[in-house]
């Protein structure tokens, strides 16, 4: 037996690395209509973010004067003249759902506009890159300096850049905390050392995350951390406007003796001169000419870059443009089809958005200023009285959402001869109880209902608690059960 075994090493491929080094991206500055829109959105978003906590809004003497305030400690959210209670949290849920549907709609129509223009990661990264460019210079200068030895020039620029980044990050983190507490007071307390621990901790935390994510992680967040790119493709189809390279007129790409080559006409070159300008300006460092890809945030800076080159070479601009896959396929064969903006997908998103918005607005308009919740005692279900009467215990939650104190009137409908006992307010049984309600408060009281029901079929009878605000007339009812002994006949 002389079987020759192949040498094992010969079969084993050279080991591939399990882990990839990060490829540093040095985005180049670019100017153009897309870039200008992006700057505009950036100024708008950051302006709103930093300024909103400082807007004042007069709500009377006992309420905070901040236009937008998420007052977690007092369980109130204020948005201009809307005041949300914990019970109204469904508005926020609804707004989040609507935001998601809007995102689906915009993505299915125009691709990743959110990612490229208004995502906080994009906006702050853009701002940080601007600072970097101002201090360290543009792409080539940065690459050269990073490869070079550590000199004084390099050192002070790096230190200045990180200091500027940290300052912006600190400003950002502090502004976030101001949404949860009174802004002027917080700033004063912060610098005098009197702010709450959570105030300092969250400022520090958000400073650190802003600095790390916008300064260091940048495109890594979009590529590896963010879930949105992973499933946004479910919102895209062949009729979605996405950043597109017009390969049908760009290829074959090439540069150099273009005119000579074109003259031969044997192998005519496309409009793309393969200058890589689109790659150099890309904040995620990709080549749009490879087609639609996960890393593309759809910002369109490559469009501006390419248009400059097209102008120089005298070719038609918009070689990289926004277009749909369907139109690009058609254009390849010389047809110029119309847009397909209205399609079942977008119409369904629109319908959901419209219905949701109407529901939320209606809910907001019809929101009651008076609230009543009732919980029947679990044990005992009822107490039997000496004269044969039955007494049930309830825990009632009274809500006064108005900014004025008022007397609330509690009565019982549908239970003949019923008397109310509110031992904390009026221990004497009465048909209509008066509950003094402070402004903008919730109050919980135990209420005993005493009655002599003629019969209690199956041991219970239903009735209504009726609550009325004597000042405003606002009224609410709560359907409740009165329990007693089964077939209690008198």
């Amino acid at each position: 037996m002389n079987v020759s075994h192949p040498k094992p090493e010969a079969d084993v491929a050279p080991p591939t690395s399990l882990y990839a080094n990060r490829v540093r991206v040095y985005p180049k500055a670019v100017d153009g209509p897309v870039r200008r829109v992006k700057w505009l959105v950036l100024v708008l978003c950051l302006g709103v973010y930093y300024a909103v906590p400082w807007l004042r809004w007069n709500r009377g003497p006992d309420a905070p004067h901040q236009a937008v305030l998420l007052d977690l400690w007092n369980e109130r959210f204020y948005f201009f003249n809307v005041e949300l209670w914990p019970q109204d949290i469904w508005f926020l849920t609804g707004i989040l759902v609507l935001s998601a549907v809007s995102l689906f709609l915009v993505t299915s129509l125009f691709g990743r506009l959110w990612c490229g223009y208004s995502c906080p990661q994009t906006v702050w990264t853009d701002l940080f890159m601007l600072v970097e460019r101002k201090i360290e210079g543009d792409r080539n200068e940065r690459i050269r300096r990073d490869r070079g030895p550590l000199t004084f020039d390099k050192a002070w620029r790096k230190i200045a850049k990180h200091a500027a980044w940290l300052f912006i990050a600190f400003w950002t983190g502090g502004a976030w905390v101001m949404y949860y507490t009174d802004a002027p007071t917080f700033v004063h307390d912060f610098w005098t050392g009197h702010a709450s621990t959570s105030g300092y901790v969250f400022t520090l935390l958000l400073t650190a995350t802003t600095y790390l994510l916008a300064g260091w992680a940048r495109e890594q967040v979009c590529t590896y951390m963010c879930p949105w790119p992973r499933f946004q493709s479910a919102m895209l189809d062949e009729n979605t406007f996405v950043v597109t390279y017009e390969a049908w007129r760009g290829e074959p790409r090439g540069h150099g003796k273009r005119l000579a080559a074109a003259a031969t006409a044997a192998a005519p070159l496309g409009d793309c001169v393969d200058c890589n300008a689109c790659v150099h300006v890309c904040p995620t460092g990709i080549d749009i000419r490879d087609g639609l890809q996960l890393e593309c945030i759809g910002c369109g800076l490559c469009i501006d870059a390419c248009n400059h080159v097209m102008a120089k070479t005298g070719s038609t601009p918009w070689l990289i443009t926004w277009d749909t896959v369907a139109r690009q396929t058609a254009k390849k064969s010389g047809v110029n089809p119309s847009l397909g903006l209205l399609r079942p997908r977008t119409l369904i998103y629109l319908a959901v958005l419209a219905i949701g918005s109407i529901a939320i607005l209606t809910g907001l308009m019809l929101r009651s200023t008076i609230g009543l919740t009732v919980a029947h005692d679990r044990a005992p279900l009822y107490a039997l009285l000496e004269d044969g009467g039955v007494r049930d215990g309830y825990t009632l939650g009274f809500v006064n959402k108005t900014p004025r104190a008022a007397d609330f009137e509690l009565s019982v409908v549908g239970l003949p001869g019923a008397k109310l006992i509110l031992s904390e307010i009026s221990p004497k049984p009465e048909t209509t109880a008066t509950v003094p309600m402070p402004a903008d408060q919730l109050r919980t009281l135990r209420v005993l209902v005493q009655a002599q029901p003629d019969h209690l079929v199956a041991g219970r009878e239903s009735f209504d608690f009726v609550l009325r605000n004597r000042e405003t007339g606002a009224k609410t009812t709560y359907h409740a059960l009165f329990m007693g002994p089964v077939s209690h006949d008198r």
């Binding site: 079969d11 084993v12 491929a13 050279p14 591939t16 690395s17 399990l18 882990y19 990839a20 080094n21 990060r22 890594q220 590896y224 005692d377 044990a379 005992p380 107490a383 039997l384 009285l385 000496e386 004269d387 044969g388 007494r391 215990g393 006992i421 031992s423 005993l448 008198r490």
Partner: protein
């Protein structure tokens, strides 16, 4: 190990070299920083192991360098809370019921202390919310044997009923059947009459004999109108609420061999302030007078 690294035709990237049913996976290496973050979490976990109790050793666990113990933390919390409430409980012990009721903060402490003490000591007989059961009085109704004012409740809790305490509330119902004070037939007559007092009697039964016997034997304690007498703890019989049941058999049994409940005196177990708190809590259950 993969035998051959190939380039994917479409993406131009390396494959892992593995093949499953003709499908080759692209080699997409993890970024290095991701691995470092992963390693950092391991270091963090090891730090937690060293600093905090971590490894169980039967009945104990490694203590950790910080000496942290959730039990010690809880005990410290209890002590802090007790110290905080000690002064308030002192005030509750010192002040009159009327003054406590005027003080919202003290009332809150008293009702909370009362509720907890009630759950630990009174609930087994009187029920979680004082609803009682056969033989154990309900505390949430308007039927009281010895009185439902705060002072009366405090007295009952402190000294008990028929307990060993010399100041206990004490009374005895004659053993009408056992001591042959009434014949079985007479007892049945009385029972028939008593049932008319709370509307459970059968119609067409002659109760005149029972009414006379009631006047002679029961009225001295229970009252001519069966309204009860709190001085001797005689319950009202003209009431829908009956401690030992309102059926005819239950009434007959109670007259024949009366059952008389015992409640312990709590002054040997609870401090006067705590008893006051329990009285306030019981009073608040719905039957307080």
């Amino acid at each position: 190990m993969p035998t051959k690294i190939e380039k994917d035709v479409i993406s131009g990237r390396d494959t892992t070299g593995h093949e499953w049913d003709g499908i080759r996976e692209l080699n997409t290496p993890l970024p290095k920083w991701w691995v470092y973050v992963y390693l950092a979490t391991i270091v963090w976990a090891l730090g937690m192991f060293v600093l905090y109790p971590a490894i169980p050793l039967g009945t104990r666990a490694t203590t950790g360098l910080l000496g942290f113990s959730s039990r010690a933390q809880a005990m410290a919390g209890f002590q802090e809370m007790n110290a905080l409430h000690a002064t308030q409980m002192q005030e509750i012990g010192r002040m009159s019921f009327a003054d406590i009721e005027k003080n919202h903060d003290l009332m809150e402490v008293a009702l909370t202390a009362g509720r907890i003490t009630f759950a630990n000591n009174c609930q087994p007989c009187h029920g979680p919310n004082g609803e009682g059961r056969i033989g154990y009085p309900a505390l949430d109704t308007d039927v009281w044997r010895w009185g439902g004012s705060l002072d009366a409740i405090q007295q009952t809790i402190t000294h008990g009923i028929r307990s060993a305490d010399p100041d206990a509330r004490n009374s005895q119902m004659p053993n009408f059947g056992g001591d042959k004070l009434l014949t079985p037939a007479q007892i049945e007559d009385v029972a028939d009459y008593v049932m008319t007092l709370y509307g459970k009697a059968k119609t067409g039964v002659d109760t005149s004999a029972g009414e006379k016997l009631f006047g002679d034997n029961c009225a001295p304690c229970h009252g001519a109108k069966a309204e009860g007498n709190r001085d001797v703890g005689a319950p009202p019989l003209a009431s829908r609420v009956h401690l030992y049941g309102d059926s005819r058999a239950a009434v007959v049994a109670q007259i024949t061999h009366p059952r008389m409940g015992v409640m312990p005196n709590w002054n040997h177990r609870l401090s006067p302030a705590t008893i006051k708190a329990v009285a306030l809590y019981v009073h608040s259950l719905g039957g307080g007078e």
